[in-house]
Symmetry: C2
Subunit: 180 residues, 2 copies
């Protein structure tokens, strides 16, 4: 992971604060500013705190900066384990979520794709989540999501996370895994 | 369940608002004001919204009014299913959580037991949770919890809920189950 600037960290923490999410000191110290090795952190990244990830369930609190995108990926079945199922609940701001099932037509969706890597976005079924709204993504289903113009804070409730096995559409992604 | 007063509902909703928890209209309409059939709702109850409860994981947002207590219970193993494991994360206010493992000495803990049913509280290992703090309770482990003087808002992340199988220490508890 490239060095993340203090300004970037400040902007992420400000969004947790705006959403009135209280984090412990050690959680604040250990926010995962994941740039997926794409060197495009202002546009493609995901910022998160893992509250709990055990053998049975997982919960995270995620932040996207304004118009920032979490790159397209899916959660495959693993040996003896069904792929991760996840529920995204918008807590603050606005999230545009795209799920496999409709062809992605860049001119017809509500957001602009990250220009540098737009060929690696394919899922086109759009869901808009405002605070208090949520959507559950089935295993093995491609998805990506982008924050609205003010950013977004999103709770994720899910089956256990094994981030190292996530399959990204963009072959250049290198996920430095911190979930265990 | 006895009829819950409008004033009671208003006080619960106020705590969600104080914690800046945004609920959808249908969630607000369907808050579960569980009195456990004890006719002692001001002192013993649990108010909750189930965000998601599927075959793999569960997430709820719970409210306790000031000094209100969720009665002692445990989550047993079920046929082919390990008992429910749950992580409580305090979002707002203060929670006193008591877990099996130390004898309960009513004069030595931080809270006052609900007088009417104090014989049905036995778990005595105390944990105090402030906003941003959390604790994970293992299956088959007795636990109960009480809010501090301002009440509390608590997120629960867990394995699936099967509330109908919960075992309460107080044999008079009748849980009207709403989790599925
Ligand atoms: Zn995902
Ligand atoms: Zn419990």
């Amino acid at each position: 992971m490239k060095k993340v600037t203090e300004d970037y960290k400040r902007r992420v923490k400000e969004l947790y604060e705006k959403a009135n999410i209280v984090l412990s000191d050690s959680e604040l110290e250990n926010i995962d500013f994941a740039d997926f090795g794409l060197d495009n952190i202002e546009k493609e990244a995901l910022n998160l705190v893992v509250y709990i990830n055990n053998e049975r369930y997982c919960a995270k609190e995620m932040v996207l900066l304004p118009n920032q995108t979490c790159p397209e990926h899916l959660h495959p079945d693993l040996e003896n384990k069904e792929g991760k199922q996840e529920t995204f609940r918008c807590r603050w701001g606005k999230v545009y979520l795209y799920v496999e099932g409709e062809e992605l037509k860049p001119d017809e969706i509500s957001v602009t794709l990250p220009q540098e890597n737009n060929q690696y976005y394919t899922a086109g079924k759009e869901f808009v989540l405002l605070p208090g709204e949520q959507y559950t993504i089935n295993p093995k289903t491609k998805h990506w999501f982008q924050a609205g113009p003010e950013g977004a804070v999103i709770s994720e409730f899910s089956s256990p996370s094994y981030d190292e096995y996530d399959i990204f559409t963009n072959p250049n992604v290198k996920r430095e895994v911190r979930d265990r």
